[in-house]
């Protein structure tokens, strides 16, 4: 289970980048750009005071990536403040998830991380009032298709995405963290109960173990690792950060069972420690083994994951990689819905128009 060496070095031992050659920089920047990790690598270099050791040309590209990430984060902070303004009057608990949560709580996982959409979690009972408040403050439905509205409201774990009509920013309002039709059913009441308040207001973030479990669920249960290596980088950073406190690991295992998220937790611990050398205690890895899938399924998952987190391979291995990403896509849908519903949903998706290509002008 290996990453391309230069990417592995950049993410796990950035200090080794001080000595690499121009052609290695070339290789690294190309891969990092495709993997969406350019700004992350810039942030790691900055953290280790290594930017001055980077030759001018690659440094310019890293600097560009930083400027883009800073801008995205600036936009996200503003967006969070606008959402808080729209929802403050309701006086109901609102939990910011993923990128927005990392950013506003100042976690190191937010460094160089680009995410544009904002996800929030609210109590199902408050869903209607939250939706009404957002619509009143300028957000609009993006999915006007009848099937989409139906799909989200009946089977999904969130409202159809809302977009602000002036800022064009997207918000996903969740009432739980995984689709209702899926295999795992974490109880959102438990998440809400443990959530940590920000500055004493109704706005909150998930507790550390829950935050990790949500990230794991998103990568391995509800997602098809579509963010690839970035999903593992998130998990790695969160585990390193929270894992510094010894009591965290037991809590994580306990909470994984509590929230019915043991399988994604197993995958998260396995793949971060194997691929990014995340320091997960041996005892914890050992205990997590009881959450592992059957042997054959586990072997298959290993192949799919390593293809999903690696940069685009060349030659015949490229078709293998393409097959893996297709298999993960199918797997994600399989986990998300019972077979009949899945067949119906895929049939519907098949008839959609294909995405357009860019015309160079």
């Amino acid at each position: 289970m290996k990453l391309e060496p230069i990417i592995e070095c950049a993410l796990t031992q950035p200090q080794t980048l001080a000595q690499i050659s121009a052609s290695q920089w070339d290789r690294l920047l190309q891969s990092a750009r495709r993997l969406g990790l350019l700004a992350r690598i810039q942030a790691l270099l900055a953290e280790h005071d290594l930017l001055d050791a980077v030759p001018d040309q690659p440094r310019m590209h890293l600097e560009s990536a930083r400027i883009v990430a800073d801008n995205e984060q600036r936009i996200m902070r503003w967006e969070v403040s606008r959402i808080q303004r729209a929802l403050r009057g309701l006086a109901k608990p609102v939990i910011f998830l993923k990128g927005a949560a990392y950013l506003i709580s100042g976690l190191s996982v937010a460094k160089g991380r680009i995410s544009t959409d904002i996800d929030i979690l609210v109590d199902k009972a408050d869903l209607d009032s939250v939706e009404a408040a957002l619509l009143k403050h300028g957000w609009e439905h993006t999915k006007v298709d009848e099937y989409d509205q139906f799909y989200y409201r009946i089977w999904s774990h969130e409202l159809p995405p809302l977009r602000h009509r002036e800022r064009r920013t997207i918000i996903d309002v969740h009432h739980t963290i995984l689709p209702l039709t899926g295999r795992c059913h974490p109880d959102p009441k438990k998440l809400l109960a443990e959530a940590i308040t920000l500055d004493g207001s109704q706005f909150k973030i998930l507790a550390p173990a829950d935050m990790v479990l949500h990230s794991a669920a998103h990568a391995f249960q509800d997602g098809d690792l579509v963010r690839g290596l970035r999903d593992l980088v998130d998990l790695d950073d969160l585990l390193r950060h929270f894992g510094a406190e010894a009591s965290f690991w037991d809590r994580l295992l306990e909470r994984g069972q509590d929230l019915d998220l043991t399988r994604p937790l197993y995958y998260a611990l396995r793949y971060t420690s194997l691929i990014l050398h995340t320091p997960v205690p041996m005892a914890v890895l050992e205990q997590a083994k009881k959450f592992a899938p059957a042997r054959l399924a586990g072997l298959m998952m290993d192949r799919l994951v390593i293809h999903a987190v690696n940069d685009r391979l060349s030659g015949w291995r490229r078709s293998l990689q393409a097959f893996s990403s297709w298999a993960l896509y199918i797997r994600q849908h399989w986990l998300r819905m019972p077979p009949f519903l899945l067949a119906r949903h895929l049939m519907h998706q098949m008839w959609r128009p294909q995405k357009l290509r860019t015309d160079l002008g």
Binding site: P58, H61, N71, L360
Partner: protein, 265 residues
Amino acid sequence: MFYTDFTYESDGFADFHLKLIRPANLHRVWRRQVTCSLNDESPFSPLPSDQAFAVFESLLNWSIYTTTYSYLIIHGATVERNGFAAILPAPPGSGKSTLCAALVSRGWRLLTDELTLVSPASGLISALARPISLKNNSIDVLQAYAPQEVFGPKIYNTIKGTIAHMRPPSDSVARMHDAAVPGWLIFPKYQAGASTTVTPLPKGQAFMRLSSGLVNYPVLGAQGFEALTRLIDQTDCFNFTYSNLDEAIAWFGALQPPCRDAVER
């Protein structure tokens, strides 16, 4: 042909990785195509293969536009003389490339005909000195006006109509590492039959007009704002309507160095 004066220097690092290939599909039987990729990713539609050079130039522009944030990018041509740069920002069809090519053929140094790169740190404009892309009628006009310059073949039926490129002068290429101080900001407008008309532009208006069309300006945040205000402070700003190239070039030739201390009332 267009890049003959450029030197190839590589220590193994390249800013952009562009690839143009003939796809090996059936389509080639009736019409040869070219597909292009940037950094091994290809979100672009294939185009007829006789457009390959125009595609290459567009792709290179696109690469710079979508990945470069260490410069403020102004969509416009820039030429330089006696140490000061004249920036000609303009939407397509305003004749900026025509004017730029004409000025370059009369001794101005070419910095760029499409992407003006302003360094937020130094306030200087970097040179690219790449081929000038001329469109439709301006191709014949320039070939008649500057027969000594080298022009490429006409490329028909592109998205922008007919395109031909003019080779950058050797001297501009040799000086491509010399950045230039912004001197004048001139919004050109070609209008058939019009006499040359110049109107000084108040700095506030120049700022609003320039900032509204900049692609990476919002991303740069405060740094972009500072770079742009500095540029406007440094330059004399004009609206410039023309149809006669000789008159236009004569006016540019008579430009006085910018008055830096002028304060807008």
